[in-house]
């Protein structure tokens, strides 16, 4: 086995081993935070150097290629960003901080394995590993009434979804007698007219649709977002989505892009998902719940790119995954920083933010405009790519529906922006103490969202190269 091509995973494994060691020692959250930050920062470097790597491992059950490496880098970036928010983990008891980092690392590790898995069993293992770490992470909330409620709900729906998925695996395996995705790619397009295969594929996808919070598997999202510690929510909303998107892309591309049934099923799911997400978000009072529903809606847009099943569509989804990571993370950065004692934040709780911290208010505004797809932000470019791909395939009506959804979504994004920029707090609140590194991070995110939005050439080139692998 070539250890070099496995380097990012090995690195993450070492990182989790270190934190496992820490869990056995006296709690020291400052040490944990700094170690995690350093590890994650170096980890991005490791992932970047491993980008050119390629090869097969474990008897062909594990593939390292540009697709997996780019997504691994994105995942590690997500981990790093989330750890940046953990300087004060107020939502979690101090004695559990090492466990928090341990689980976060394991979750990232398992999602890195997920994007490399090309065998149904490794896929399942990786997915379960990441899910179980997330279940526990949700439970870690200091206020147990929140955490337990959300954790149980997450666990139950998650377990159901993975049972359904396993059944789908069985059906597919029964139909085509292989569990290697590479062979599936060859055989599946020829047997796609069999109802059994389509049904199996849909059940299989449902496991990942659950992760992405697509209708009808989206019910956990608002409760879990609300109940989990803010940093964990940030992770679920950003990094874990990236993993789910990657696997969905891998699976859907197996059909070779010519399955009408699948496209229609996904189209219906996409429409319902974005509409349900946007309409439900309009009435939310809690910012995290609102963002949860907005995540649901975003999943609908992503499905639109996936169901186009053409190179442009896959490119757009890869691009949008990166965009979503940035935008969603930025929103949750504001949540974490404004709710400085780890509480849940209502939309009204943003009142006076433009005075308390202008940079956070600006970051929030830009990320929300990005989520709504308004130029010149990265979110607009992503949506443009998705819509172009869909119209190329002839789904004009779908795009029109998506655009109407965009207008609906703008309504509640504007309400949040109004709270941050217009509403004055009932009693004067002190300025938020934002440390210079966080200010720099916020500034960097704003710059990244705008610069990539205006000048997306290089990111599109990478996304295109990644997408090409899916169709090879």
């Amino acid at each position: 086995m070539n250890a070099m091509i496995f380097a990012p995973e090995l690195y993450a494994l070492c990182m989790s081993a270190v934190f496992f060691g820490f869990t056995l020692t006296r709690p020291n959250s400052r040490r944990d935070f700094l170690m995690a930050l350093t590890f994650a920062a170096v980890g991005i470097g490791v992932c970047l150097t491993a980008i050119p790597a390629s090869g097969d491992l474990f008897r062909g059950a594990y593939r390292v290629d540009l697709f997996s490496q780019v997504f691994k880098t994105l995942l590690f970036m997500g981990l790093f960003l989330v750890i940046c928010l953990c300087s004060e983990l107020k939502g979690i008891e101090e004695r559990l901080h090492s466990e928090f980092y341990l689980l976060l690392t394991i979750c990232t590790l398992s999602m890195m394995m997920l994007v490399s898995s090309v065998h149904l069993l490794t896929l399942y293992l990786a997915l379960e590993l990441s899910s179980y770490s997330l279940y526990i992470l949700v439970f870690l909330r200091k206020r147990e009434d929140y955490g337990v409620d959300a954790g149980v709900k997450y666990f139950l729906i998650g377990a159901t979804a993975s049972a359904v998925m396993l059944f789908g695996f069985a059906l597919i395996y029964g139909a085509v007698q292989t569990a290697y995705l590479g062979e599936l790619l060859r055989i599946l397009p020829t047997v796609l007219d069999q109802p059994l295969v389509i049904f199996g594929l849909l059940l299989t996808l449902s496991g990942f649709l659950f992760k992405l919070a697509v209708f009808p598997f989206h019910f956990w999202a608002p409760d879990v977002y609300e109940g989990a510690p803010n940093q964990v929510t940030a992770y679920i909303a950003s990094a874990s989505k990236v993993g789910a998107i990657a696997v969905l892309l891998r699976l859907v591309s197996l059909t070779g892009g010519n399955s009408e049934y699948l496209a229609h099923a996904l189209a219906i799911l996409a429409i319902i998902t974005m509409t349900v997400g946007n309409l439900s978000a309009m009435v939310q009072k809690d910012l995290k719940r609102l963002l949860a529903y907005s995540s649901v809606a975003q999943a609908g847009y992503i499905l639109l790119g996936i169901l186009s099943m053409n190179p442009a569509g896959y490119t757009s989804v890869v691009f949008y995954a990166a965009a979503l990571l940035l935008m969603k993370f930025t929103c949750f950065m504001v949540v974490v920083k404004v709710a400085d004692d780890g509480r849940n934040l209502s939309v009204d709780g943003l009142a006076g933010l433009h005075k308390r911290s202008p940079i956070l208010a600006m970051a929030l505004m830009l990320s929300l405009f990005g989520l709504a797809g308004i130029p010149p932000t990265i979110g607009f470019t992503g949506k443009l790519l998705i819509f172009t791909a869909a119209i190329e395939k002839g789904y004009f009506v779908l795009v029109l529906i998506a655009m109407i959804n965009v207008v609906i979504s703008l309504y509640y994004y504007l309400l949040v922006i109004k709270a941050a920029y217009l509403t004055e707090p009932k009693e004067a609140l002190p300025d938020l103490a934002i440390s210079p590194p966080v200010k720099a991070l916020a500034g960097g995110l704003v710059a990244a969202m705008v610069v990539v939005g205006i000048f997306p050439t290089y990111v599109i080139a990478v996304a295109r190269a990644v997408a090409r692998l899916l169709l090879a």
């Binding site: 819509f387 172009t388 504007l414 080139a461």
Partner: protein
């Protein structure tokens, strides 16, 4: 159409001046209000100077797109940074420069959240300038949206009269428009199959079937028409005008609504000429309804700003009617009307803004005898009103004349109706002038200071431009004609 590349990137310099202003303001501390205002004035002055220079330096004998700049932006998608102006774009650039500069001067006395206000204004105007010069569909859309979303905060924070409702309504309406435009753009780009967003490459005749053109034109017409205040999509506009602070009303009614009409011209009519001809009767119908409706609703308003708002609906209807005639005169008149109406509403809102700042009312019944209280400020208001009525020697007279002459030829009934409506417009504007400006002097307003020469500067500029183009309309017509004649020659 000949393309003349620029020796110096004047157009980008305009955008850079806006972006530079924006960045400088963002990095200045919020307390340095004086400096922020000076930076705004200087940067907006630069944009005005350059647009004036371009207007004069444009070679009218050569025609076509001049001062062109072109850089590949995203080669894999066929997006280019492609700017250029012709006889349609230049009047709009000049208008934007004038309204922007005078708008900044008009807000010289503001004190509430100055930094954010000017930063947002700069962002908005960057979008407007970009929209008028861009020749790439991607950038046209980007600039279009950039010019819209600052409106929400500008109205919701600094506005008056039901500001949050108005801001939300306006933003949602306008972005609903862009929800039609973006699919329209992608639809054409994909169907052309050239993998380019280049407006000129896509406007080659024969690229799209008549059916595609009809479909896409309708998307563009409704999408941009919302912003242009086309009846029945106009309802955001009076509410928005009323709620917005003075400079925003000026830019909004003066320039932003023109973006809508310009978008129909630049995208709809250029890319889908067959669709334009097909839908022209519908455009004429909606425009006429808008003219008549605006006039009659304006008649019953009690708030001066509402009156101006509805007169805008009426006047923008004239632009629509001009575009619908599919003739050189109609197009000339429509573009001239865009220019003239922009100046007129800017002057209207600017002069009214001063009166409102001092008296704190814009209800017609509460005002009266203002000509005695503050004769100069009211004088500007009267000039604006006269322009709105279309008195000869003022810019909009020529524009309306041209539109009506050609409308009579093509749509005699609509033309007659529109002219009758114009009489009603004249009636309600004169009624406002009479109630607000004349009559006995109001005791409680006595002693209010009149507008000083310095504060009056923006209005003086606006009045003089209106008079210059009213006395010498050929200055403008010769310019517009360089674009309209080749434009109509291209029609199949």
């Amino acid at each position: 159409m000949p393309l003349t590349y620029a020796a110096f990137p004047f157009l980008s310099t305009i955008l850079l001046a806006c972006v530079a202003g924006l960045l400088i303001i963002l990095f200045l501390p919020a307390e340095r209000e004086r400096e922020i205002k000076w930076v705004s004035a200087v940067c907006s002055g630069i944009t005005l100077a350059i647009s004036l220079f371009l207007f004069i330096a444009y070679d009218q004998d050569l025609g076509g797109y001049q001062f062109v700049e072109r850089i590949d932006w995203v080669p894999s998608m066929g997006i280019t940074y492609f700017n250029g102006v012709d006889g349609f774009g230049l009047p709009m650039l000049l208008l934007t420069g004038i309204v922007f500069f005078t708008g900044v001067l008009t807000m010289w006395e503001m004190t509430l959240r100055v930094k954010e206000f000017f930063a947002l204004i700069f962002l908005l105007v960057t979008g407007v300038f970009g929209m008028f010069m861009a020749l790439d569909l991607f950038f046209i859309f980007v600039w279009y949206d950039v010019s819209l979303f600052p409106m929400y905060l500008l109205i919701a924070v600094w506005g008056s009269t039901r500001k949050e409702y108005a801001a939300m309504k306006l933003t949602l309406y306008l972005l609903a428009g862009s929800a039609l435009i973006l699919p329209g753009i992608i639809y054409l780009v994909i169907n052309a199959g050239l993998n380019t967003f280049d407006l000129l490459a896509l406007s080659e005749p024969g690229l799209f079937t008549p059916g595609q053109q009809r479909f896409a034109f309708l998307l563009f017409y409704i999408g941009f028409g919302i912003l242009a205040g086309v009846w029945p999509f106009h309802t955001w506009s009076p509410v928005g005008h009323v709620a917005a602070p003075t400079a925003v009303s000026m830019i909004h009614a003066g320039v932003l609504m023109k973006i809508g009409a310009f978008g129909v011209l630049r995208l709809g009519m250029t890319l889908c000429p067959l669709g334009w001809q097909y839908w022209a009767p519908l455009m004429a119908f909606l425009a006429t309804v808008g003219i008549v409706y605006g006039a009659f609703v304006g008649l019953s308003q009690t708030d001066v700003k509402y009156v101006i708002g509805y007169s805008s609906v009426s006047h923008m209807g004239i632009v629509g009617l001009g575009l619908a005639t599919v003739s050189v005169d109609g197009l000339n008149g429509a573009v001239f009307q865009m220019f003239a109406h922009g100046l007129m509403t800017a002057l209207f809102f600017s002069s009214l803004g001063y009166i409102y700042d001092k008296t704190h009312t814009k209800t017609i019944a509460d005002l009266g005898g203002m000509l005695k209280t503050m004769p100069v400020a009211t004088g500007y208001f009267i000039v604006a009103a006269l322009t709105g009525i279309g008195v000869p020697c003022l810019a909009s007279f020529w524009a309306e004349l041209m539109v009506f002459i050609s409308a009579f030829k093509v749509y005699p009934i609509y033309g007659t109706l529109a002219i009758c409506a114009l009489a009603v417009t004249a009636l309600f504007i004169l009624r406002v002038v009479q109630k607000v400006c004349y009559g006995p002097e109001q005791e409680r307003f006595a002693g209010l200071p009149d507008v000083s020469l310095g504060l009056g500067a923006p209005r003086i500029i606006l009045v003089s431009v209106i008079v210059i183009f009213g006395l010498f309309p050929s200055l403008m017509f010769d310019m517009i004609q360089t674009a309209t004649i080749p434009f109509l020659d291209r029609l199949p």
